[in-house]
């Protein structure tokens, strides 16, 4: 069935648009400033230490990279799983995926001790390293998704878009597996070292990516005055609820499995019981705000049937996602390495102690600049490319059922 949706660039001529782009550019540039400050004085100006090796920039970077692959899901559902109602949003989904990955990688690269050695990272490879694989997975993602986008937008190649979509889907699963494995392969740290990290990150990516996408579509359609009907919004709402529940399921299994192993009791009691900020972030923000609250919002008829309610739930999912990654990345390092299991250990290098950490301003600025960069790319892309349907009203959404109905009528 040909795509009869009318796509059109957003006008982007008003003061609001230029103000938005201007502010995003300022935030993006401030990240470069933060990075320059960190490189000039050294990472001593951040809160990262030899104990907390990866800090807030990594929370932002991993969130954006994970969400990038998740946001592509909207495209995949239309191409790979042939859900017609998602088709009109497939282009925006692909562009947002590329934008989020670019923002995440920018943060990751600008936090390196030697970002000037990017060329070294691109020319020297240790193929035993999951990081090295990820360099190929990330660059491959850019290429594949952009080709996929091109095939969706170019009429001559449109018939290949399903195949390209399938490749992009497989690639995005590999990419998130690779991202989860960065932690899963760390055998020495009791907070990581779990094969479940890879599928858990995939479930997280579905939830975070879709939450971002719902907000993005709602904001763009409201700002441009284009109609956004309930049908597509409710479909995404149902999907978001399923993904949030799936991410929660993996988190529960991860912790239950660890609780079963006596050797992991220490780190589990730290995260779940007496870890201070990490325990708070886990129970209150990840589980409470990021899981139970949005599920209640989405499936409560009073709130789940309003655009506002669905957007608030999506924001809560994003807040919970940041908390989850903060607990995984920073909480996993704050808990001390077990050099001598069962012994009380102390040293000038803080052995046996919980490592202290609170995000510093340069780290936060760098992290937010990644989000700003991603949003800037989307804002510019929707102005210059026909990515958005002129209407997503219920009348313009063609579901599989309506397509079948139309086909039947044609036969009659």
């Amino acid at each position: 069935m040909p795509d009869t949706t009318v796509y059109q660039e957003v006008e982007g001529k008003g003061a609001d648009y230029y103000a938005l782009v201007g502010w995003l550019a300022v935030f993006a540039a401030s990240g470069l400033g933060a990075s320059f400050y960190m490189e000039h004085y050294g990472h001593v100006v951040t809160s990262m230490t030899n104990g907390i090796v990866w800090g807030t920039p990594h929370v932002f970077a991993v969130f954006l990279i994970v969400a990038a692959s998740g946001v592509l899901n909207v495209s995949s559902i239309s191409s790979v799983f042939s859900r017609a109602h998602y088709k009109p949003m497939a282009r925006l989904s692909a562009v947002t995926a590329v934008a989020l990955l670019a923002g995440g990688l920018m943060v990751l690269l600008l936090d390196l001790g030697r970002p000037d050695r990017l060329i070294v990272a691109m020319t020297y490879y240790n193929f035993k390293s999951i990081f090295a694989w990820n360099i190929f997975l990330y660059t491959g993602f850019f290429v594949i998704v952009l080709v996929y986008l091109w095939m969706m937008m170019e009429k001559r190649w449109m018939h290949h878009s399903k195949k390209a979509g399938l490749l992009a889907f497989v690639w995005r699963l590999s990419l998130t597996t690779g991202t989860g494995s960065i932690f899963g392969f760390l055998v020495a740290r009791p907070g990581y070292d779990a094969a479940i990290m890879a599928p858990m990150f995939i479930a997280m990516s579905f939830a975070f990516g879709l939450a971002i996408f719902i907000i993005l579509v709602s904001v763009i359609y409201k700002a441009t005055g284009r109609p956004l009907g309930d049908l597509i919004l409710f479909k995404m709402r149902n999907l978001l609820g399923t993904f949030v529940a799936a991410a929660c399921y993996f988190s529960v299994v991860q912790h239950l499995t660890n609780l079963y192993a006596a050797e992991h009791m220490g780190v589990e009691s730290f995260i779940l019981w007496n870890g201070g900020i990490y325990t708070f972030l886990f129970w209150v923000v990840q589980i409470g705000v990021g899981t139970l609250f949005p599920l209640a919002m989405l499936f409560n008829p009073a709130t789940g049937r309003t655009c506002q309610g669905i957007n608030i739930a999506s924001m809560a999912v994003i807040a919970g996602g940041f908390a989850q990654l903060y607990v995984i990345i920073i909480g996993g390092q704050a808990f001390p390495l077990q050099l001598f299991p069962g012994m009380e250990v102390s040293s000038s290098f803080f052995d046996g102690q919980v490592h202290a950490y609170a995000p510093s301003l340069p780290e936060l600025v760098l992290g937010f600049s990644g989000i700003a960069t991603a949003m800037l790319i989307v804002a510019v892309a929707v102005k210059y490319l026909p990515l958005l349907p002129t209407s997503l009203s219920d009348a313009n959404i063609r579901t599989n059922r309506s397509l079948e109905h139309e086909a039947d009528k044609t036969v009659d």
């Binding site: 001790g113 240790n126 020495a188």
Partner: protein
């Protein structure tokens, strides 16, 4: 055809003569270079497996001497930020909470046979020499710190600030990762690591260095005579630093 063959032969003879002359002219330089590049002990070889034996049943004061010797030899230390200052070797105190038994021991890079830091390094900057010494190539370290995440012993440090007072044999750089080199510059000259020599100079026998592959070396004899332990052997990374008394 015949004429062509004759010309070719002449050209070949000329090339041979030229190449021989060039080889004679360059050879002395090559010899000098190769002698300079090879250490007194020859190039790193898998025939050797450098290791250490640490006796924790000793006066813990010697470990401070070992730490100070390392600082002096390698040019680190002297900072005011304990959480970010590099520490290539540290004194670790342990206590069994059930029995109250205490011990103190130095912990430095354990120079694992299967080093996780080498596995995870994306550029190959973290590397293991043929003789088992684990090093960081400062020229291709991008400062991603994944090796620090992977090290089971917290033995790597990130250089958080500009460095000064570097030693000619140990260039260091802000934004890169560093750790104990087992004093590779001394080992290649047939000497002991600085920490071992400093401890030995006190008359203590608490630290021993040598070739674990040589059955006649002092360290091999000691390791085969006494029961020794290595830290976190359950991880299967095969560290080359052995401890007694823990």
């Amino acid at each position: 055809m015949t004429e062509q063959k004759t010309i070719d032969t002449a050209k070949r003879a000329f090339m041979k003569a030229g190449a021989s002359a060039a080889a004679i002219a360059i050879a002395p330089g090559v010899s000098l270079y190769s002698i300079g590049a090879h250490a007194a002990t020859g190039p790193a070889s898998s025939a050797k497996r450098w290791g250490m034996l640490v006796d924790a049943n000793t006066d813990e004061g010697v470990w401070d001497i070992a730490v100070e010797a390392c600082k002096k030899e390698q040019g680190w230390g002297g900072g005011n930020n304990p959480a970010t200052d590099p520490q290539w070797i540290r004194k670790v105190s342990i206590k069994d909470p059930k029995t109250g038994a205490k011990a103190s021991l130095p912990v430095m890079c354990q120079h694992c046979d299967s080093p996780p830091c080498v596995d995870v390094c994306p550029t190959g900057a973290s590397m293991k020499r043929a003789d088992g010494i684990v090093l960081v190539d400062k020229h291709i370290c991008i400062g991603c710190r994944y090796c620090m995440m992977a090290c089971p012993y917290s033995c790597r440090s990130f250089v958080h600030e500009p460095v000064s007072g570097q030693k000619p044999h140990m260039p260091r750089g802000k934004g890169t990762v560093e750790s104990c080199t087992m004093c590779v510059h001394r080992v290649d000259k047939g000497q002991n690591p600085a920490c071992v020599d400093a401890v030995n100079a006190t008359g203590s026998q608490a630290m021993m260095f040598g070739d674990l592959n040589d059955p006649n070396s002092d360290i091999s004899r000691a390791v085969s005579k006494f029961v020794t332990q290595r830290i976190r052997t359950d991880l299967g990374v095969e560290p080359s630093v052995h401890y007694r008394g823990i």
